[in-house]
């Protein structure tokens, strides 16, 4: 079988698409998000794929919740794919970094940086068993230096570096880590980031499906440490 996947932020948008792709692939999946109704909708939508879908609503910054997630993946087998997708955009409307609330900044860092690393730390025994893959969802804001994207962007830049560092550190244990910038998409988060603006020219998150299909076909150990653009023209496998 394909092993067990854990997808965070799976209630809508990109996380929902990744979960539905993996379910179609025959992965058993634990999905989580804070909004319980949305999460259960996704679970219901994915029924009929002949795989086990277990929705566990909660906040990934909460250690008790994380423990529950990983106990569940353990109970279903062993985690082979961890997708850290849940993200917090921060204050809306997006403030200038120099004027931003530091308290709110810390919350964003908790969700976007500390919690994904915590999940990786806590799932190491399972990932080691499966020689698993961690996918950290990044953003072009991590490299852009765009005005008013400093909070979200710096959290993602830090996550990119964490991904690369973990890839190097976990190589001897055959655990692989990649970072994926999905590109602009027509999602609730994107709409929140562009309040009141028309974002209908952005593609739906389905636009990333070809990338996920390609990614699951790769030997994780050959691509560990890479950062991919899901909507880019080249997905490179290093020599």
């Amino acid at each position: 079988m394909k092993g067990v996947a854990l997808v965070t932020g799976a209630g809508r948008g990109l996380g929902r698409i990744i979960a539905s792709f993996l379910a179609g692939q025959g992965h058993d999946i634990v999905i989580t998000a804070r909004t319980s109704t949305e999460l259960h909708d996704v679970a219901q939508f994915l029924e009929g794929n002949d795989v086990r879908i277990v929705p566990i609503p909660g906040d990934i910054t909460d250690q008790v919740h994380r423990t529950r997630l990983l106990q569940q993946t353990r109970a279903m087998g062993s985690l082979s794919l961890l997708v850290n997708n849940a993200s917090d955009l921060g204050e809306i409307p997006r403030p200038e970094l120099a004027l931003a609330s530091l308290e709110r900044f810390r919350l964003t860092l908790e969700t976007n940086l500390v919690a994904p690393i915590a999940l990786i730390q806590e799932s190491l025994p399972q990932l080691e068993q499966t020689r698993g893959l961690v996918v950290n969802i990044s953003s072009d804001a991590s490299q852009g230096g765009y005005e008013r994207w400093g909070i979200y962007g710096s959290s993602k830049a830090a996550l990119d570096l964490a991904s690369k560092t973990l890839a190097a550190e976990l190589k001897p244990r055959h655990i692989s880590v990649v970072s994926v910038d999905p590109g602009d998409m027509r999602t609730r988060m994107h709409q929140d980031a562009f309040l009141g603006e028309d974002i209908s020219d952005r593609p739906l998150p389905e636009v990333t499906l070809p990338f996920w299909a390609w990614l699951v076909g790769q030997d994780p150990e050959r691509i560990t440490g890479m950062r991919y653009q899901a909507q880019g023209t080249l997905w490179e496998v290093p020599a």
Binding site: S20, F21, G24, Q25, G26, G48, N49, P203, L204, E206, V207, L209, P210, A213, W214, V216, G217, G232, T233, L234, W235, E236, V237, A239
Partner: protein, 346 residues
């Protein structure tokens, strides 16, 4: 670029329906039109070596063709499932068709199951922007299904011939679902002549998916293309850089080679590169690596024509195609050849 710029009329009796060897000829017994900025001239393919200079370099696609067309039973009756792009042995992009000659789209739904012999194919989701292609999961490795049931993908103008007709002299790495056909007329005889004239030959790999249909978007550059798996080996990158450094010309044998090479291009020269490329080459981004393109003749309003326009400009391409039609050149994989030099190559 507007899609209407890529329109032209081409009589359908100019579709090559069979390989030359079926008529008792050699593979190299096809015609070759050579287009420079000033002229479109007519040769036979065996004259190719003499049209190149010692020190020129041909880059060929070493991908071999799979029997990727499978018979399938469905809710709609018996159909065909043409495999297009391999992600894993049991996850492919695939095109359901009514028959080889009758394309879809078929009124199929997500999670619909097709039966291929004793195996099942699950249609998962449609490809974003290309709804005729489906992400498809197989409960049996595709390699086994192809070995048992597969035949070469073929369309309305030709029956399925034995697989050997769909391999070129360079085919080494199975993975294409349609023959990278530009090298098809290169026989051992032509190869000998090329080598003795001092023309280099190096390889890349690009596994082709199913042919793209007509561009639907009014703006050519907006058309969605799916990615293809490719590899530009280090030795090939080095040979191309060395050829350019000493003033030689690099000729891509086929549009697939152009896609692979342009993906591996950097402003400092070509580099070794492997992975999947979704690069769409059109006049807006241009070509950087090649000085000439040896290829077949392509259909109206296709992404291939956009690539040819990037090589030589749409006006030259249309002039050449007018010349080819007047001289009754044959289209498609078993047809005639066209060597298109870049505007600034000669």
């Amino acid at each position: 670029m507007n899609r209407s710029e890529l329109l032209f009329d081409r009589p359908t009796d100019l579709f090559a329906s069979e390989p030359p060897e079926m008529r008792g000829h050699d593979r190299d017994d096809v015609r070759l039109m050579v287009s420079t900025p000033g002229s479109d001239a007519h040769y036979s393919f065996t004259e190719l070596p003499g049209l190149l200079e010692p020190g020129d370099l041909l880059v060929v696609n070493e991908s071999a063709t799979l029997p990727a067309s499978l018979p399938a039973a469905s809710r709609l009756g018996n159909i065909r499932l043409n495999l297009s792009t391999r992600f894993t042995d049991d996850l492919w992009l695939a095109e359901p068709r009514w028959s080889p000659s009758r394309p879809g789209p078929l009124p199929l739904k997500e999670r619909e199951i097709l039966q291929i012999g004793e195996a099942k194919a699950f249609l998962l989701q449609q490809y974003p922007g290309i709804p005729r292609l489906w992400f498809t999961r197989l409960d049996t490795p595709a390699s086994r299904l192809m070995a048992k049931y597969g035949e070469p993908i073929h369309y309305c103008y030709t029956p399925a011939y034995p697989m050997s007709n769909y391999q070129t002299i360079f085919s080494r790495f199975p993975g294409s679902v349609e023959m990278p056909s530009a090298a098809r007329p290169i026989t051992a005889h032509v190869l000998d002549m090329l080598r003795s004239r001092g023309i280099g030959i190096v390889g890349v790999i690009l596994h082709t998916g199913v042919s793209s249909l007509e561009i639907e978007d009014e703006t050519v550059e907006h058309q969605a293309l799916y990615p293809e798996v490719f590899r530009v080996p280090e030795a090939t990158a080095n040979a191309i850089n060395a050829t350019h450094a000493r003033g030689g010309r690099v000729i891509a044998v086929g549009t697939t080679v152009v896609r692979a090479l342009e993906t591996a291009w950097t402003p400092n020269g070509l580099r070794a590169c492997s992975g999947a490329t979704g690069l769409y080459i059109h006049p807006g981004n241009g070509v950087h690596v090649i000085d000439g393109l040896l290829t077949g003749l392509h259909d109206p309003v296709t992404s291939h024509l956009a690539m040819l326009s990037a090589v030589a400009g749409i006006d030259r391409v249309k002039k050449a195609y007018g010349e080819a039609i007047r001289n009754r050149y044959l289209w498609h994989e078993f047809g005639d050849s066209h060597l298109l030099w870049r505007q600034d190559a000669n």
